[in-house]
Symmetry: C2
DNA sequence: GCGAGTGATGGCAGCTACTGCCATCACATA
DNA sequence: TATGTGATGGCAGTAGCTGCCATCACTCGC
C-alpha cells in the first residue's frame, strides 16, 4: 500500500478509528494515522481540517438526508411530526452500520474534544432542519424550537439505540421518544 | 501592574475578552493575553485549561444556580415547568451583565471552536438538570427529554434576549418560548 | 524578629497540531 | 512524446499546551 493507492480518504478514516479505539484519541498522532494509511501527515491534513474531523465524514450526508426527508414529509404533518417522520427514515442507514456506529460512539464518549465536535454537528443539523421548516411555512421561533426538540429526540433515540443490547428498532425508538417528549411538554 | 497583584484570574478574563473582541479569537495568542494582564503565558495555562476556557468561567456558577432553582421549585410543577421556572429566575443575573453578555456572545458567534465549547457547556447543563429532575422522581427518558427541551428553551430565549434591541424582560421571553414549545409539541 | 513551609508565579525545553510553500509523482490528453 | 493537472511528500515555522524546576511573596510557629 503506497502512494496512489485508491481511496486515500477512506483509508485515513479507517486507520483513525482503529488507532483512536486502540489507544485513545489523544494518544494517537496524526502522523501515526497517516502512516497506517500509507500516507504522509501532510496528506492527512489535506483531507481533514483537523484530527477530529476524520470521525465526522458522514455528517454532511446525514444532514442532506434528513433535510430531504423533512422537506418531503406530508404537508399534513405538524412540524415536530414531520421531523420525527424524517428521523424514523434514518433507521435503515444506521441499522446497516450498527457495529461501526457503536465503535465510533465509544471513541467519542471517551473524549471531550470529540464530544464538542459532535455537538456542533448536531447544532448544524438543527439549524438545517429549522431552515427547511421555515421553507414549509413555519414561523420563528417555532421553527427553531421544533428543530431543537426534534434533534433532542434524535440524541436520546440514538443513545438508547446504541446502549440497548437487544437490537431495538430505530424507528420504534423514535416514536417512543417523541411520545415521551409530547407527554413531558404537555401542560396547562 | 505586576506579579502578586490581586485577582490574576479576573485580569486574564478581562484581557482575553478585550483581545478576542479587538482582533478575533484566532489572532490573539495566549502570550499576548497574559502580557496584557501583567502575567506570563505559563500562568495563563495554570488558570485556564486552554485558550477557550477563559471565556467560560461563569458556566459553573450558572449550572449551580440553575440546578439549585430546579431542585427548589414547587413539587406541584411538572418537570418542564420546574425547569422553566428556574430559567425565569436567571433573568436578574443576566440583566445585570447585559453588555458583558452581548460582547462575549459576539466573540463566540464569530468562532466555531468557541461555539463548540459553548455547546458542551450547555450539554453539561442539560445533564445536570436531568440529574436533578431524576432526584425529583422523574424517570428516564422523560428526565433527559425535559432537560433537553428546557435547555432548548434557554438557548432560544438567550439568543432572542441578546438580539432584541429594546431590552426585553428575560423572564417574559422564557415564558413566551416555553409556550411556543408547548404549542409546537402539542399533538395527536 | 526569624526561619520553615506554602501557594502563586516565571522560565525554559519539548511535543504535537496545523499551515504555507514548493517539488515531485502518476495519469490523462493532445 | 510533450504537457497539463491533481494528489502527494517534504520541510520549515507558528502556536497551543505540558512538565519540570527555580523563585518570589506571604504566613505561621517560635
Amino acid at each position: 500500500m503506497s502512494r496512489w493507492e485508491p481511496n486515500a480518504r477512506g483509508r485515513l478514516e479507517k486507520a483513525a478509528l482503529e488507532l483512536y479505539s486502540e489507544r485513545g484519541f489523544e494518544q494517537a498522532t496524526a502522523a501515526e494515522i497517516a502512516a497506517r494509511a500509507g500516507l504522509a501527515e501532510r496528506t492527512f491534513f489535506r483531507h481533514f481540517a483537523d484530527k477530529r474531523e476524520v470521525l465526522f465524514g458522514g455528517a454532511g450526508e446525514l444532514q442532506e438526508l434528513l433535510v430531504h426527508k423533512v422537506a418531503n414529509a406530508p404537508d399534513s404533518l405538524a412540524p415536530i411530526d414531520a421531523v420525527a417522520a424524517a428521523l424514523e427514515g434514518l433507521g435503515a442507514m444506521f441499522e446497516q452500520r450498527r457495529e461501526f456506529s457503536r465503535q465510533r460512539q465509544s471513541v467519542i464518549a471517551a473524549n471531550a474534544e470529540l464530544q464538542e465536535r459532535e455537538l456542533i454537528k448536531l447544532a448544524k443539523l438543527s439549524a438545517a432542519v429549522a431552515d427547511v421548516l421555515r421553507r414549509r411555512g413555519v414561523a420563528d421561533p417555532a421553527a427553531s424550537l421544533a428543530a431543537e426538540a426534534g434533534i433532542a429526540v434524535f440524541k436520546i433515540t440514538f443513545q438508547r439505540w446504541i446502549d440497548e443490547t437487544n437490537h431495538p428498532d430505530f424507528g420504534q425508538l423514535v416514536r417512543e421518544s417523541l411520545a415521551e417528549l409530547k407527554a413531558v411538554t404537555a401542560g396547562e
